[in-house]
Subunit: 211 residues, 2 copies
């Protein structure tokens, strides 16, 4: 199909498609003349994926390019694809390295030990969690740091669901794509469910006064 | 203390403090002369809270003002404080209303029923979850939508931990602050823990080849 048809099929404007082609997020089409190319169904699929990562997942274009590269590199072990996807969604100041050892980093390490997790020292979650815990203490709410118990169990349930879903794919290529999409969009899904569950539990425990 | 001492005590610059005073995030100090005011320990605490919400929680200044207002209004039932805090952290395009009924909104309602949750129709989580599920389908990964089971159970664990922590506070005012801080920063804590648990479980299920 032509670029105009690719645009109609995906709802992505022609200038945006040209931008993704130029930046290397979308593979070039097959040249059919000096200034015309033909695009396949795989381009439709890739474009939808690009928009999902950017519009729903909130990734920057350069970050989306990195994770798409991880999907395309079929020699990468799946654990590495996870690592790349995790780093992509952790590209905010929250996950920047904390200076030295803090109460937060100590508490994170204790939790990792207690849960029996094997986690490499450069996992971005360590920095993110330590920063949140240190902030809880700094704003005078150390009781929030005790929230660990329930959260860590929940995180393990989430990760088990993540991996079970990845394993359902039979093709390795599709697995890598599931890892990326699930990691980038899964945070939003968990936060959304947390909002619903919070409303339910808070109504049970602190019912609003009847009018 | 003077504004310069308030700045030293919190690490927030004087221009930023003046900005927060002007925007109404920080209450005015007590005037000691025509152009000098005195600030109390409560100002130190409030400034730390403002910076936590903005720097770590990623809230916009106007949004931070809304949630601080919810903390200060002691007549608000706690369930309403939760609602305001949730809406504050849901102030992104992810949570904008989905047009009409979609597969996603239907699946969200089924999950709410299955879990036995009571959730009002304007809970931002409904829109967020529906949008993620619709995106999974659109990018050709409907298997990811089946991830619900584990995620919903995990979300309930998280919400129970949230509420148990809130209930540990004895003063209502401190409770409202715990709700706001825990809701705004808790998403980041959960995401961080998910990154660690994912690494652990993916190494168990898909070990990287030994060198």
């Amino acid at each position: 199909m032509r670029i105009s048809e690719l645009s109609s099929a995906t709802g992505v404007t022609v200038p945006s498609i040209k931008y993704y082609l130029r930046e290397g997020l979308l593979p070039q089409g097959e040249l059919t003349s000096a200034n015309q190319a033909s695009y396949a169904d795989s381009h439709v699929q890739r474009l939808k994926l690009i928009r999902a990562l950017i519009d729903v997942g909130g990734l920057a274009v350069a970050t989306a390019k990195d994770v798409l590269g991880a999907i395309d590199d079929t020699s990468l072990p799946l654990t590495c694809v996870f690592g790349i996807a995790q780093r992509a969604v952790s590209d905010t100041s929250l996950y920047e390295p904390v200076e030295g050892e803090t109460d937060g980093t100590r508490q994170v390490r204790e939790t990792i030990d207690r849960m029996g997790w094997h986690v490499s020292s450069d996992n971005p979650g360590i920095q993110g969690a330590a920063r949140v815990i240190d902030t809880y203490t700094r704003v005078g709410h150390p009781e929030l740091a005790q929230i660990w118990e329930g959260y860590a169990e929940a995180a393990e349930l989430i990760a088990r669901a993540d991996l079970a879903t990845v394993a359902r794919n039979e093709r390795l290529e599709a697995m890598a794509e599931t890892v990326v999409v699930g990691t980038v969009l899964g945070d939003a899904l968990v936060s959304s469910l947390r909002r619903m569950a919070q409303e339910h539990i808070s109504n049970l425990q602190f019912p609003a006064p009847k009018e």
